[in-house]
Amino acid sequence: MHASHLDQVHAKINLHAHRRVRSVLDGNYSSIFKGRSMEFEDLREYAQGDDVGDIDWKATARSGKVLVRRYIAERKNNVTLLVNTGRSMAATAPDGSPKSSLALMAAGLFGLLVLRHRDLMGLTWGDQKGCHLLPPKGARGHVELILNTIAKAATAQAAPADLSGLLAYAGQAVRKRGIVVLITDDADLDPAGFAALKRLHLQHEVLMVSIADMEPSAATARSPLDIETGVLIPDAVRRHPAVVAEQAAIRARKRAALTRSLGTLGIAEGRVEAEATMVHTMIGLFERHQHVGR
């Protein structure tokens, strides 16, 4: 039997983020769902990133510590992971780990938060061969199933990725209004995909997690080959200064274009490059998500 994906994600978070960061995660998440009907649950100490508006000034005065009010969402949130599980997700991330394991960790992180807040989690995933849906449920076992499904789908044997198709499918299939977390890689977003993303964002609250690709010119790549074609990229060519320089330029241009597009839509993006920096990336994503606001 496989070890629990959730336990693994938990262990990784504990490994890479110290306690103060983890409490920030708690605080931020509680304010992802602002503007919704909330029911007061209890008080807890203020943590960095909490909405200042949540501070209970009277209780703070009484206790001498800064306390914030915690709420339970009155209505359970539907958090749908939209994972681009095509073949490219099995390729390598900048830190040398498979991108799929980074995607899995990001998904698991959301899973832990969803479970802690007794929300519901669903999954939409797919590639060129087709897209699939697991409807939202709140059980730990269901979250585990979602992670397992991602792990099984995002392999080198999978069909090539189809981000636009997946976005279009999600626009149809995800009916219940909620939060959609798009976990994809550095694939280019074509106009159709961009339109689908825009439609999705009108229906739902969309966050985007990009799993970065290892660059072909990276020094840590060992006889790299393209995962789609199997074509080897010769070292003498990929490390050539002219190629490296040109690639750096085009990468910066593409990133800038994507950031601009997402900015016009009001979608916050977190770009994951390594397991070690995942938690920080996510906190940054939550902060930006708050500020792009609704």
Partner: protein, 353 residues
């Protein structure tokens, strides 16, 4: 043009096949185990710089491969040892000729001429061993059998010169003119001009008795015996025959003495007849010095008659012709070095930029 080590070609082909199979296996394994799998490389592969560098890289690879191929082909050709072979029938070199000169008083006038005849005779030879012995009452070996023709030429020339000088000074003052006869007059009290003994001693010069060699003696004498030899000329000739040696006789001839006498030039003295019979009894021939062609005839006789006596085994001589293979290998190696040097130069220029 034949290949001395033709098996090298299938071996090289086999090695090539093995290398190809190993290469394919390695490439497949590398693809299966994968290097680092990367996604979304199409942007990268579409870079103009990538295409440019890739083309240059590919050209370098192709040229290197070509150079290695040329090198390998050249090396294979060298390994296969192309060679030209020729069949050689070795020159007959198992003839021994002993020149035997009578230096008795009656002969001194013509000995210089006879020595020159010997010189001319030797000029007809190539590989035959020649020895020289002179005798009067006793015999002296001037040099034993040798095929050192430079030495022969020098020695015979020197003796001819000395004999000439001797005759000239002797005619004037009776001195020896530098020619050293020491040893030829031992036992003079028993007589001089002991032709039979002289011939017998000349026969003694033949060595390698266990080898079947064509042996000839060229005896230059007037056969004017003055004393009591151990062996008469016919007896010595018999000994020669016994030893399977042919005796060729050169007689100075007496034609000059018959001038003014009523004797035909064809008149043969008993001594001359004895000499001719002795020569002919051994299978040899008799000539007089008057016969201008005697030397050539003797040479022809020795070279032709004796050749039939000797057996020679033809053998194959093989010359390696490594030129083409070596040149190809060199061109390949030079090409490889050139391509590598150009690539290294490019890298260095890029670093300094």
């Amino acid at each position: 043009m034949t290949l001395q080590a033709g098996w090298a070609i299938p071996v090289a082909a086999g090695l090539l096949a093995v290398a190809a199979v190993v290469g394919v296996i390695l490439a497949r394994r590398r693809r299966r185990q994968g290097g680092t799998a990367l996604a979304n490389t199409s942007r990268f592969l579409a870079l103009p710089a990538f295409g440019r560098v890739l083309r240059r890289h590919a050209a370098t690879q192709v040229l290197s491969g070509l150079a290695v191929a040329v090198l390998a082909v050249g090396a294979t050709i060298v390994a296969a040892r192309p060679a030209e072979s020729e069949t050689i029938t070795p020159e007959v070199r198992n003839r021994d000729v002993v020149l035997c000169l009578d230096v008795s008083g009656s002969m001194m006038e013509v000995d210089a001429d006879l020595m020159e005849s010997f010189q001319n005779l030797v000029k007809n030879f190539d590989g035959e061993r020649v020895g020289l012995s002179v005798f009067n009452s006793s015999s002296v070996t001037l040099f034993p059998l040798t095929d050192d023709y430079a030495f022969l030429e020098e020695q015979l020339g020197e003796y001819a010169r000395q004999l000439d000088a001797y005759w000239e000074t002797w005619e004037i003052d009776g001195s020896d003119g530098g020619f050293d006869f020491s040893g030829t007059l031992i036992g003079e009290e028993y007589g001089s001009s002991l032709i039979g003994d002289g011939l017998a001693m000349c026969l003694d010069l033949f060595d390698r008795q266990n080898q079947e060699r064509a042996r000839s003696v060229v005896l230059a004498t007037d056969n004017m015996v003055a004393g009591a030899p151990y062996l008469t000329l016919p007896e010595a000739a018999q000994l020669a025959k016994l030893k399977n040696v042919r005796m060729y006789a050169i007689d100075p001839g007496w034609g000059q003495y018959w001038d003014g006498w009523d004797i035909p030039s064809t008149y043969e003295m008993p001594e001359q007849a004895e000499l001719r019979e002795a020569a002919e009894s051994t299978g040899g021939e008799y000539y007089t010095l008057d016969d201008g062609d005697s030397v050539r005839k003797i040479a022809n006789s020795i070279l032709s008659q004796e050749a039939s006596l000797t057996e020679t085994t033809p053998y194959r001589l093989v010359h390696d012709r490594a030129g083409l293979g070596t040149a190809l290998a060199a061109v390949g190696a030079a090409g490889l070095v050139l391509v590598s040097a150009l690539a290294a130069l490019g890298r260095r220029r890029r670093r300094s930029e």
